[in-house]
Subunit: 123 residues, 2 copies
DNA sequence: ACTAGTGTTCTATTTATCTATTACACTGTA
DNA sequence: TACAGTGTAATAGATAAATAGAACACTAGT
């Protein structure tokens, strides 16, 4: 797994698993790989994986069952809320940073559209 | 100055000064506050400020003159290029992260528009 | 020459993160 | 009961980032 060395690894692992849950790669109620297997998968230490999991457990997205494993919550409302929250965070952060560079709403939209068309042509 | 504890402070100081240069708060050729004053301004250590400045000097955005001070480059092309680069980086990162959440181009645009109208009404 | 203000460099210490390792607690199965 | 597979916790060590403090190098004005 590729890590951005400017952000803590446990934080990136959390984002990675959240993505898998939101995109349905991990279904509600599905069992996650064991912490030891996850550590191998992302080439990190068990403790680092555990720290990421702890935050997801505290957030109610993961249910931890000692001796059995870690499971994605069955509560699909929580997953929907999580997706909404992550999207809002991303959009807000991007908007604020571009706005801080003195771009108007229209310029921000145009920059994004321009990026999309360029990206579309390249594929 | 408010810091995000997930990102190195020297990195955030650099972003902060880049913003001031791009928005014209700091004009081309203008002298920056001394490193000691900057450290007070952002409530960080001189060495941390110096590390941020070193990267901007290496990037050619800041000219350092020992005994005199640090100055914004006179080369406005470099500033324009920097602005373009930062915008592209922000747009690309935001797009990729939203795309990774399985949002289509249209959904990404709509999320952004929705955020803008909500934000507009709140002001 | 002196001094104040500037950038620059160095050392030592602290803190957060990550790793490695070991141990403990619980579940299910043979 | 034994054992393998799971989550959890604790310790010790390594590294990067940030701080504190001191010193050095250069410039301009007195």
């Amino acid at each position: 797994m590729h890590f951005d060395d400017k952000i803590p690894i446990y934080y990136q692992i959390k984002a990675h698993i959240y993505h898998e849950i939101i995109t349905g790669t991990l279904q509600p109620g599905e069992k996650l790989p064991s912490v030891r297997q996850l550590a191998l998968d992302v080439t990190a230490n068990v403790n680092t994986v555990q720290r990421a999991l702890s935050e997801m457990i505290a957030a109610g997205i993961i249910d931890s069952k000692r001796g059995k494993g870690n499971f994605v919550t069955m509560d699909e409302t929580k997953i929907t809320d999580l997706k909404t929250q992550l999207i809002t965070e991303q959009v807000a952060r991007a908007y604020q940073q571009l706005h801080a560079l003195n771009l108007s709403d229209e310029e921000i939209l145009n920059s994004l559209k321009h990026y999309m068309t360029q990206r579309g042509n390249a594929e």
